[in-house]
């Protein structure tokens, strides 16, 4: 699966990109700006998951379900098991979201288009309702997350940033290996022609299910990282429909052209939001909406299409 993966241009560029972002964030930029990079990288994982689904024409309006589930898994593991180790936290977040995705996947894999999108939203709203009512999980106030540790030592902000960079690189490698495989190529094949895929002897529902679990794991991982970075989880900022909307928003803004696009898009989004809120606190949503409109009109392939026009790996779509 991973044969020769480090020699692939997308991965080499991806590793370089993450290194630059982490270096900028830890040594050069002020903290507020550095936070945008850290949150952007973390949230980018969830957007990568959405992008993988989107390439099959499946748009989830409820991916905050897994994002929030991963975040709450970290909070619950800390509260009831005392888990603060960052490796364990991310593994728990990914496993919890993956398991939920596996179970719900049996239902969702049968639906397409708007039905898939709205059913995803419905599931996320069920979780939102449960979390908002669950007093033992802090209800609408949520739960606080203690600083992460590694091998018993507190990680600190910089350490967490490096760890996020490490997780992002691993995710890029995994996503690229998946998309270049036979199974990954079914991503586009299913979008083009489900009947042919069935007649080639592979179950379309199974392929979608696998893709859905991968997507859920990525979103769960993103939620786990964000929980560790923010030090707080609550239903409004982790599971509400508007969080799912933001993820869809960033996916459109980033474009589907490359696995790096979600991270570029997510960081761009963090900056747009920060500046919009800074300069127009009463109308920041309007600025964000205007940005999306401008991208749809002038860059229909998303921000990544801009890179494709000016960089040498424009034909590579992995």
């Amino acid at each position: 699966m991973f044969k020769g993966i480090l020699k692939e241009q997308t991965i080499q560029v991806g590793i370089g990109f993450v290194f630059i972002v982490v270096l900028l964030g830890t040594f050069i930029l002020p903290e507020w700006m550095s936070n945008n990079f850290m949150y952007g990288l973390s949230r980018g994982l969830a957007v990568l998951g959405l992008m993988i689904l989107w390439r099959t024409n499946l748009v989830s309006f409820g991916h905050a379900l897994y994002y929030g589930f991963g975040a709450y898994a970290v909070a619950i593991a800390q509260k009831y098991l005392g888990v603060t180790d960052v490796f364990l936290r991310i593994l728990i977040a990914i496993a919890a979201a993956g398991l939920l995705g596996f179970v719900l996947g049996f239902i969702l894999r049968r639906y397409r288009e708007i039905f898939f999108a709205m059913l995803s939203l419905a599931f996320s709203m069920v979780l939102y309702g449960l979390l908002a009512k669950a007093e033992f999980l802090g209800s609408t106030d949520g739960m606080s997350i203690s600083p992460s540790t590694m091998f018993g030592f507190e990680l600190g902000r910089f350490g967490l940033f490096y760890f996020i960079g490490f997780v992002v690189i691993l995710s890029l490698i995994f996503a690229h290996a998946y998309l270049r495989s036979s199974l990954g190529h079914l991503t586009t094949a299913i979008m083009d022609n489900e009947i042919r895929v069935e007649y080639l002897g592979y179950s379309v529902e199974k392929a979608i299910h696998i893709k859905y679990v991968i997507s859920a794991c990525l979103a769960g991982g993103a939620g786990g990282l964000m929980a560790a970075a923010l030090g707080q989880v609550d239903p409004d900022s982790m599971v509400l429909w508007s969080v799912s909307g933001e993820l869809v928003f960033v996916t459109i803004m980033a474009g589907l052209g490359n696995i790096l696009a979600p991270f570029v898009g997510a960081i761009f989004f963090e900056f747009i939001r920060t500046y919009a809120y800074e300069f127009a606190p009463q109308a920041w949503q309007m600025i964000i909406g205007g940005t999306l409109l401008a991208i749809i009109f002038f860059l229909p392939g998303g921000l990544w299409s801009l890179f494709q026009k000016i960089n040498p790996f424009k034909k590579e779509k992995k």
Partner: protein, 248 residues
């Protein structure tokens, strides 16, 4: 020619909301035979193909393949046991290149389990793919996106994708429909010679009687959901019922 029976249907019937699309279809096909299925539009030819390949579940009757009952089988299960098909309207991956289409078909037929997570473009598969593209005379178009190809090219690709699964029996639904007159015989020459070479049993739906006469061992003529004639081409095309209801 081998004489082993490969496909048998017994009292096969399909109806949609009470309207009978196919009834009392009893056929026996021997290994290696090439059979032409003819009939006017709505005669039940495609319904028959769809039932054999699992796209439609018969209302009643049975289908046996190599002595095993396969009635109501799912399309992918049909492919796994060696019953493959092409379509009246080419079912290919339009946004991909010709080679990518065939590579997907080949890797799904040759790999399973965790091997499906290996990179799709390995050298051995790629060389084999080029060989097939050459055999089907679409090697020059291998890097073109399928949506830019002519109908004829798409038909060839569609058939090539069905053939790479090493079918024991192949059902071709109107392989030359939408193809220009100049391309028709070229396509059929390529397809039939490739299939004869592999000993595949072929059933193909066709409207062009010149093609039927030239390539098939046997003709099945459909009219109003029933088979009205099952005979060698010379005999079938002179049959009174066939002339009246099919050739018109």
């Amino acid at each position: 020619m081998a004489t082993t029976e490969i496909l048998k249907t017994t009292n096969l019937q399909k109806s949609f909301s009470g309207i009978i699309a196919a009834e009392d279809i009893n056929i026996s096909v021997k290994e290696g035979e090439i059979i032409g299925i003819i009939g006017a539009n709505g005669a039940g030819k495609t319904v028959f193909v769809n039932m054999i390949t699992g796209y439609l579940k018969p209302t009643s009757g049975s289908i046996e393949f190599n002595g095993k009952n396969i009635t109501g089988i799912k399309p992918r299960e049909a492919t796994h046991i060696g019953v493959c098909r092409s379509f009246q309207v080419s079912q290919v991956f339009m946004s991909m290149t010709v080679k990518q289409n065939l590579m997907i078909a080949m890797s799904l037929s040759k790999k399973s389990g965790s091997a499906l997570l290996d990179p799709i473009d390995d050298d051995i598969l790629s060389k084999e793919c080029d060989k097939i593209l050459k055999q089907y005379n679409i090697i020059k178009q291998k890097d073109l996106v399928v949506s830019t190809l002519s109908q004829g090219m798409r038909k060839l690709l569609d058939i090539a994708m069905a053939v790479v699964g090493n079918p024991k029996i192949l059902l071709l639904d109107e392989p030359t429909s939408g193809v220009s007159v100049e391309e028709k015989f070229g396509i059929m020459d390529i397809v039939i010679s490739a299939l004869k070479e592999s000993g595949t049993t072929v059933l193909f739906v066709e409207h062009d009687m010149e093609i039927v006469e030239r390539y098939v061992d046997r003709v099945m003529a459909f009219y109003q959901g029933q088979i009205i004639c099952d005979a060698p081409p010379k005999q079938a095309l002179k049959d009174k019922k066939v002339i009246q209801y099919v050739l018109g």
